[in-house]
C-alpha cells in the first residue's frame, strides 16, 4: 500500500529530519509510529500524503509517487490526515460545513456530499451536532469532527498525527475506540504518538530516533525486549510494571501485556 524507499529530508534550515528511511506498509495494517518530540515522526507522516516532498528517495502510495505533483490530489484523497490541534483544522463555520469541505473540493454532487456528511457524522457519533459551531464543541468533539471530515473523503488510509495529545483521558479513549472500529472495517491506520499507552491496538510498532527507524516489528516483542534507556524515556506505568513482573517471572513473555486489561488477564484471568 505504502512504499517508502530510502527517504531523507532536511528542514529549510538544513537540519536533517529524516535519514534514509525505508518502510513498507500493507493494506489494512495498523501501524504506530512512536518516538520523542523532534524524532521526525510527524515529518514522516506528512510525506505520506504529499504535504512534504522527499529530499531524497521516494514515497509511493498505492502506486502513486508523491514526487509527481499531478498525483497529489489522488494521494490526499487516498490518505486522509488528522492533526494534533483540534482548534486549527476546523475549516467550516459549522460541523456540517467542515465535513463537506473535502468532498466539495473533489467536486462531488450535492446529494453525494450530503450522503457522505450524514454517514461520516453517524460513524463518529456526532449526528446531533450537525449544525453546531466549533466554539460550542469540546476538544474531543472537535477531533471527532476532524475524523468525520476525513472519513467523508472515503480514504483507504488515515494518518493520525498525535491526535490525542491535547485531549483529556475520556475523550482520548473515545477517539481510540473509533480508530479501532475503523481498522476493523479495513482502513489502513498509521498512528503517530509519544504515548506508548496507546499502543495496544497496533499490528506493528515503528520506533524512531533522530530521524531514523530504530525498531520495526511486533509491538509486544519490541516493548518486552527493549529497556527504557534504549527507548529514550520512561515507560508508562502499566508497561513498566509488566516488565518488572516479567523479570520476576510472575507473567511469561508469550503475550506481553500492553494495557491494564491485558495485565489483569495475565495475573488473574476472569473465569
Amino acid at each position: 500500500m505504502i512504499n517508502i524507499e530510502n527517504l531523507s529530508y532536511s528542514y529549510p534550515d538544513g537540519t536533517l529530519a529524516l535519514d534514509s528511511i525505508s518502510l513498507n506498509i500493507l493494506k489494512g495494517e495498523f501501524v504506530t509510529i512512536a518516538g520523542k518530540n523532534g524524532c521526525g515522526k510527524s515529518t514522516l507522516l506528512r510525506h505520506i500524503n504529499g504535504l512534504l516532498q522527499p529530499g531524497q528517495g521516494s514515497v509511493v502510495v498505492k502506486g502513486m509517487d508523491t514526487c509527481d505533483l499531478s498525483n497529489l490530489q489522488d494521494i490526499r484523497r487516498t490518505a486522509g490526515m488528522i492533526f494534533q490541534d483540534p482548534q486549527s483544522q476546523f475549516i467550516g463555520m459549522t460541523v456540517e460545513e467542515d465535513i463537506a469541505f473535502g468532498p466539495e473540493n473533489l467536486g462531488l454532487s450535492s446529494s453525494e456530499i450530503n450522503r457522505r456528511v450524514t454517514e461520516a457524522l453517524e460513524s463518529v457519533g456526532m449526528s446531533g451536532h450537525r449544525h453546531n459551531t466549533p466554539r460550542t464543541l469540546s476538544g474531543g468533539q472537535k477531533q471527532k469532527v476532524a475524523l468525520a471530515s476525513v472519513l467523508a473523503m472515503e480514504p483507504e488510509i488515515i494518518l493520525f498525527d498525535e491526535v490525542t495529545s491535547m485531549l483529556d483521558f475520556s475523550s482520548r479513549s473515545d477517539i481510540l475506540d473509533l480508530i479501532k472500529q475503523l481498522h476493523k472495517t479495513g482502513t489502513t491506520i498509521i498512528y503517530v504518538t509519544h504515548l506508548l499507552e496507546e499502543l495496544v491496538h497496533a499490528d506493528r510498532l515503528v520506533l524512531m530516533e533522530k530521524g531514523r527507524v530504530v525498531q520495526n516489528g511486533c509491538p509486544r516483542e519490541i516493548i518486552s525486549k527493549i529497556s527504557s534507556e534504549d527507548f529514550g524515556f520512561d515507560f508508562p506505568p502499566i508497561i513498566e510494571l509488566s516488565k518488572k513482573l516479567l523479570d520476576a517471572r510472575i507473567i511469561d513473555e508469550t503475550s506481553f501485556p500492553l494495557s491494564k486489561d491485558e495485565l489483569l488477564e495475565a495475573i488473574c484471568p476472569s473465569k
Binding site: 459549522t94 460545513e97 449544525h131 466554539r135
Partner: protein, 256 residues
C-alpha cells in the same frame, strides 16, 4: 456564540428557503431604498416591511436588539451631530450650540437609516447559513473576470468564511492572553508600549501559526481553489423570480 453579532438562526421559514443570491441582491436593493428615504412616513413603511418579515419568519426579536446594541454609541453620535448642526428652529438651547426641530427630524431619519441597514443585514445573516451566504457570493462573483487578478471566486468566498471563523477564535485567544499577562502585573498605564507588545506579539504568533495549520489542513483535504462543488445547491424557485421582478420595479421607481 449564540449571542454573537450577525449570527445564523437555523430554521425553515420563508426567508430561510429563499435562494441566498436573491437575498443578497434583495439586501442591496433594500439598502438602496433605505438610503433614498427622506420622510418619516416612508421610514415607517420600511419598519413595517421589516417587522412583517420578522413576524412571518418567527424570528426572536431579541436577536435583532442584540445586533443593533453594539452600534448604539455610533448611532447616538450621528444623531447628536445632526441634531445640533442642522440649521432651523431651535428647540433646545445649550449656550454654545442649540438643537433644532429640523435637526431632530433629520437626525431621526439618518439614524433610522443606519439602524435599518443593520437590521436588514442581520435578517439576512439570521436566515442564511454562512456557507449558503459564501456560496451565494461565490456564484454572484463568478461572472466577474477575477482570474485576471490571479484569484478565483472560490478563493474570495473561502477567505470570507475563514475570516468569519477566525475572528471569534482570535477573540477567545486574546481573552486568555490578557488574563495571563494581567497575572504578571500588566499595567497599560505604566508602560503602554510594553503592555501592547506583550499582547500583540503572542497574538500575531498564534495567528500565523493557526494560518499555517489551517492552510495545511485545507491542502490535505484537496483544496486547490478550483473545481469545487457545494453541498448546498442553489436553485431559483418561482418565489425567487417573483422577487426579482419586484426588485426591478422598486429600483426603477427610485431611478425614474
Amino acid at each position: 456564540m449564540n449571542d454573537l453579532f450577525l449570527s445564523f438562526i437555523p430554521g425553515k421559514s420563508l426567508l430561510h428557503r429563499l435562494d441566498p443570491r436573491t437575498k443578497i441582491i434583495g439586501l442591496m436593493v433594500i439598502s438602496i431604498c433605505i438610503l433614498n428615504v427622506s420622510s418619516l412616513e416612508t421610514m415607517a413603511l420600511v419598519g413595517l416591511v421589516f417587522s412583517t418579515l420578522v413576524f412571518i419568519c418567527r424570528l426572536p426579536v431579541i436577536h435583532f436588539i442584540k445586533s443593533v446594541r453594539p452600534m448604539i454609541p455610533f448611532f447616538s453620535l450621528i444623531f447628536l451631530m445632526q441634531f445640533f448642526f442642522t440649521e432651523g428652529t431651535p428647540i433646545l438651547d445649550l449656550n454654545l450650540v442649540s438643537g433644532t426641530y429640523e435637526g431632530l427630524l433629520l437626525g431621526g431619519i439618518v439614524t433610522l437609516k443606519f439602524v435599518f441597514l443593520i437590521l436588514f443585514a442581520a435578517l439576512i445573516t439570521a436566515t442564511t447559513s454562512p456557507s449558503g451566504l459564501t456560496t451565494g457570493i461565490e456564484k454572484l462573483l463568478r461572472p466577474l473576470p477575477l482570474r485576471y487578478f490571479g484569484i478565483s471566486s472560490h478563493d474570495i468566498a473561502m477567505m470570507m468564511s475563514l475570516s468569519l471563523y477566525f475572528v471569534p477564535m482570535l477573540y477567545d485567544n486574546f481573552k486568555d492572553l490578557k488574563d495571563a499577562q494581567l497575572s504578571r502585573g500588566l499595567d497599560a498605564r505604566k508602560e503602554p508600549v510594553k503592555a501592547i507588545m506583550s499582547l500583540v506579539v503572542p497574538l500575531v504568533r498564534m495567528s500565523l501559526r493557526s494560518v499555517d495549520e489551517v492552510a495545511l489542513a485545507m491542502e490535505s483535504r484537496c483544496y486547490t481553489g478550483q473545481g469545487r462543488s457545494s453541498m448546498h445547491v442553489l436553485n431559483f424557485k418561482n418565489m425567487d423570480y417573483g422577487l426579482f421582478v419586484l426588485f426591478i420595479l422598486l429600483v426603477s421607481c427610485l431611478v425614474f
